[in-house]
Symmetry: C2
Subunit: 200 residues, 2 copies
């Protein structure tokens, strides 16, 4: 069974759990307590030398980086149809959105979680930067989602899981009322697998 090491349902393990629910692949959660030093034990650092979450163990394979984990799992269970095959015309677009969700969008969104020990003026300055970056990405995403209900024309994929798991972190800057992104999120948040995985 696939083992997920995380701190809570709503950390970056959320997308991994959601994907596994969609794939109907059984998994087991291991909730680690940062305060107790459980992220820095010798045995955990062997799995993830950064002492971060999530990490997934699948037999002899240990892997970290949520985007990498989801790429790996969606390909491993490709017959379930959540990743286009290597020779699919949609493969490039799929990889683009999988990486965009973490490298472009989450890189910006995550700054909304760095307010601790900051002054009010520093927080305001971070918010302005996040807002400006989100604006560019929001326009691009809305353009795609006004044409089709999912990132890929062919339908729901692991790329939607990644994207929808990241968007709420900066909901104020990304989910304009009545926008295609808002509609997209409502649709995705209602998926039974997302509900079961307690993503939102």
């Amino acid at each position: 069974m696939i083992q997920i090491y995380c701190m809570a349902h709503q950390d970056r393990s959320d997308r991994v759990r959601w994907l596994l629910e969609e794939l109907q692949v059984p998994y087991q959660d291991h909730f680690l307590n940062r305060t107790n030093g459980e992220l820095k034990t010798e045995s955990y650092l062997k799995l993830n030398p950064m002492g971060r979450v999530p990490t997934v163990v699948d037999g002899d394979t240990a892997i970290f980086e949520s985007g990498g984990i989801c790429l790996y799992l969606a390909d491993k269970y490709q017959s379930k149809g959540l990743a286009p095959s290597l020779d699919s015309l949609e493969r490039a677009e799929y990889l683009q959105w999988m990486v965009f969700s973490v490298a472009s969008l989450e890189c910006v969104v995550a700054r909304m979680f760095t307010f601790q020990d900051k002054t009010q003026s520093q927080i305001e300055s971070i918010k302005l930067e996040v807002e400006a970056q989100c604006k560019i990405m929001k326009v691009a995403l809305n353009k795609v989602l006004e044409k089709q209900p999912y990132l890929l024309k062919s339908g729901f994929s692991a790329a939607d899981i990644m994207m929808a798991a990241v968007i709420p972190g900066a909901a104020d800057y990304l989910m304009e009322p009545g926008s295609a992104i808002e509609k997209y999120m409502k649709n995705l948040m209602a998926r039974p697998a997302a509900v079961k995985a307690q993503v939102f």
Copy 2:
């Protein structure tokens, strides 16, 4: 022929060009001028709705996000041996480092390029944050590279291209003199394909 849209050799198109040189796949560069609005033309926004670089066009396929582009190209030319196959035991580790390079490392390193319009005290605060994050990643990377010359045990891969293209952006915080990372970088920077692609 593969078309690369970029602003300069040393922007995030660097890793794409380097990979294509390693793969010995011909490509053509298109240098766009941001000041002239060439990133915001209707025709370019059709390829990349964010109006950013790099974007790659391969026949009917347009793809952005440097990490996604390199995943796509290394898989497309898998016979050249720069990406483990889907059923390889190293596939998970490969995906992990491909995503880590952009989503974890570059996300932090890129902040070193955001000093414009900042006060000296804001710049110092960014540098401290980058240094702290880089320290965690440096320790993890050195641990791997002390055991083996490349990220994967089996040898050089596209993951090394991604990582080595990102590291110099925060060289002061990542490349300690005499460290495994420094040795790794010296080795990679000397590769004929990297030199030809003008990455460093």
